[in-house]
Every structure is written in C-alpha cells, then in structure tokens.
Amino acid sequence: MVALCSTCNKERAALKRPKTLEQLCRPCFFRALEDEVHATITSCRLFRAGERVAVAASGGKDSTVLAHMLTLLNARHGYGLDLLLLSIDEGIAGYRDDSLATVKRNEETYGIPLTVLSYRDLYGWSMDEIVREIGTRNNCTFCGVFRRQALDRGASLVGADKIATGHNADDVAETVLLNILRGDAPRLARCASAFTGAGGPLPRVKPFKWTYEKEIVLYAHFKRLDYFSTECVYAPYAARGFARDLIKDLEASAARPSAIMDLIHSAESWTVCLGDGGGDGGGGGGSDAAASDGAAAAAAGGNGSAAAAGGGGGGARRPRSCTRCGYLTSQPVCKACLLLEGLNSGLPRLGIGKVKGGRGSAAAAAGGGRGRGAERAAAGCGAQGCGGGGCGEVGAAAAAAGAAAAAEAGGRAGRPPRRAAVIEFESEGATR
C-alpha cells in the first residue's frame, strides 16, 4: 500500500516532503534534510571556520534538532566550529524548568558545553513574576525582548562570535505575516534573512530558515531525539498563535504547502524604503541584500545591520549604546530597560505599544520613582479600568482613563497631573 522511496527505490517511503512532494524513506529523508541545511549554511555563508557558535537551546524540537544537526554537519563537512549550548531560564514554572532538564541531557548527548542564564539573574524578574504584574495579554512582549538581549548577553559572556537559532520556515513565514499586520517596515526588511546583525557584535543565523516544521518534528521523531514539547503556558494568549494557525491552515486545509516558502520568498523580494531615520535612512533596507547571504548583508551597510542590531520601532537609526545598560539600541534607552523601568515603577505596560521620541522622558515622567510593589491603581495605565484594553492599543477613552488615573496619582503626590506622559505613552513604538 505504501510506496517505495523515490530516491533509493528500495526502502518503504516514510513521509511525503511538504516542500518537494517527494516520497522518501527515513535514511534518504535524513540525508536530504541535512544536505538542505548544509546548502543553506554554505550558500548564505552563515559560518566561518574557527568561529565559536552559541546554539540557542530551549530543549524544544527546533533547537534540539539544530544542536544535533550542527554537531553532525560540523563533523561531516569540517566547518571547524566551536559549538556550545546557551539556554535562557525565563522562570516559568512547569515549562522552562522541565525543558532545561532536556537541554542538560543534550549537553551530555552532544558533548557541547551548556550555559544557563535566568531572567531573574539578568533582570531581577522571572516571567511568572512579570505575569503577576501585567497579566497574560502582553507578557510575550516582555519575554521576547528580554530573551533577545539575554541571548546576546549570554553569548558575549561565553565568548561566542555568533548565535544560531532554530527558527524554521514556518516561524519565518509567521513573522513575515506578523510584521505585515503590524506595519513594521524595518523588521519586514530583515525578518526573512538567514543572517542578521552582520555589522553588529553578535550576528545571528537561522540555518533552518528553509526547513519546514513538519520535517523538523519528523526528523526528531524518526531519530528519537530527546526533546521537550509542552506549550509555553502563556503562549495561547500571544498574537503569534493566530498567525501560526493561519499558516497551518494555508498549508493543510488549502492543500498548499508551498504557502510557507511563498511567504518567505515574497518577503525577500520586497524592497522596503525606510524614509525616516534622520539622514542615515536613505537607500532603505534592500531586502534582497539583507535576505540572501552574509556578504551581501554586510555590504548592505550600516542601515540593514543597524536595524538588525538595534531592534527599534519606527525607522532604522544608527545603533548606539543604551544610556542605562550599554546594550546596542536604536533609541536612547533600549527596549528591555524601558520595559524594566515600567515593571520597577509599577507601570508594567509602559514599554508596550508606540513611543515617538523621548522614551526616557515618557518613562521618567510616568514612572515618578515608584517602587516595584507600588499599587497598580496609582499608576496611570496599570489601573484596573485599563487592564483589559492593552494600553498600547487604546484610543481616546483609555487615554482619558489613563489621564484620570495619572491625575489621581499626581493629586496624591501633591503634583499636577502628568498628562504629557500619558499622551507620549499612548503613541509608543511597535513591539516585537
């Protein structure tokens, strides 16, 4: 009943490849997938001999397969890479604590040293504590921003030259969709690239950019790789889930597996003109250049790499050091410091949404030096009335509510209401 492998014509086929519709047996599938990843690595020039590469390891399927495959390809093709595992412990009970056990087993299996850094070590807050402050609506913003920095910081700490992440083709297609929905032109220009941050201190590579999630899961299943598969307990509330469902629907229900490749291809083909940027934005992020290979991305110059390293909201700006933590940013104060300030001042929604100019001033004005345990009601948008709305997206009504709360807070402290702070806050920059 089941057909023979279309490559070797000997073994029974084990799967139908979504990308090529070929029917392959397990050994031929393993080899085909490994060869494709090797092709991505070489054609996009993701690595150079002698580099120390931190593999971002969550214990999940993608990073487990990535650690396995990079170890294998490094040996098979003599990349000459010094590989190591880097894990971030967000502090989510029942999720990361279990998955970290998986990463520790990976450390032994692949003989790659592991470093674990926690949000609590780096930021003073665990994700569980953040969710207690902010609820489950925008918490993935915190997690994403903190993790991005945490990986960079961890990678510098272990002396890595580069970070490899397990983002697969489905993830990239999702991100393309999300950036369209958010109208985030700078990210749109680079999100489909396998190589980002070429000009920065810690470039990132995605060797699985062209690899379907289905094949990663089947590779792990057929090879009996040890991975951890519990959904993040907070993820059902994330916007990404909707984009993911849409993509899976296109792939399966519309019987069009190529939808994933098509989305990535289209993102690569766009030329996004970044008009803003105070003089250094001319020319725009030619996404062709940014998308295809490392050399091209590097050649694309300050603009593309600035955006990649900085992670700013509107308009690519020259990267600079955050005035608080020194981390590379496109704004005076980096996103993580802004989010942290909100948390520490009892205004946890501060960093979510849009800010035009003067982030620092908005933060300072709104924060007013409240301690971490400050009553939420006293803090503009942390107020109960604002809770369900997600203050980053609110309109006039919520702004008014915020103003009222700020007025109340100001009144208590014997100060006039800080209306300006609320308005700036309302128009704050895009989230990741």
């Binding site: 009943m1 084990a14 299943h221 598969s229 469902d245 399966a252």
Partner: protein
C-alpha cells in the same frame, strides 16, 4: 478493531497525560482515519477538543503517522486501518 494509538508533541496533555493507548475501536469491516478521529475525540480525549480536531480532520499542524509512515502517503483521512495498526499523532504546535 484493535489499534495502538500514541499521542506526542504535547498532544498527550489533551488525553489525560497518557501517551499510549491500546484500544478496541468498533468497526464493521473497515475503518478509516476519518472514522477513528471522532471516536478518539469522544472516547479518549479529556480536554479542549478544538486543539485536536478542526472540521472532520486533525487540527492543522498535527502530524499523523500510520505504522511509522506519514498518513499523506496512504490517503490521509481515507487511509484504511488494519487490525494491530499503530497510529501516532504528533503536535508540531509548540515552541522550539
């Protein structure tokens, strides 16, 4: 019809945190995956059926293997099951 059913990739959480089931599924003569799905949903699933099925099929993103082979090789919903077959459901819908 006797079947071995396995849930993985986090799907087991919907099925009482149990990965393997040896079951006897009522069938007059033949049984297809299309018939097995609602039976599993009604008899084995304990939580959030919308995360397992969509329409008359599995939720997109859930892989199905019959005797270790992708169900797309044997007709997906119309794949005919034989006594003793092993059917594996793996969710891909989780973080990586």
């Amino acid at each position: 019809m006797k079947l071995c059913i396995e849930f993985g990739g986090g799907l087991e959480l919907l099925f009482g945190n149990q990965k393997n089931y040896d079951v006897e599924v009522p069938a007059d003569g033949s049984l297809t995956v299309r018939q097995l799905l609602p039976w599993a949903r009604d008899n084995l699933l304990q939580d959030r059926p919308e995360l397992f099925m969509k329409g008359d099929s599995v939720r997109p993103g859930i892989l199905v293997l019959i005797n270790g082979c992708d169900w797309e090789l044997s007709g997906t919903l119309d794949a005919e099951l034989q006594p003793g077959d092993e059917v594996v459901f793996i969710s891909t819908l989780h973080g990586g």
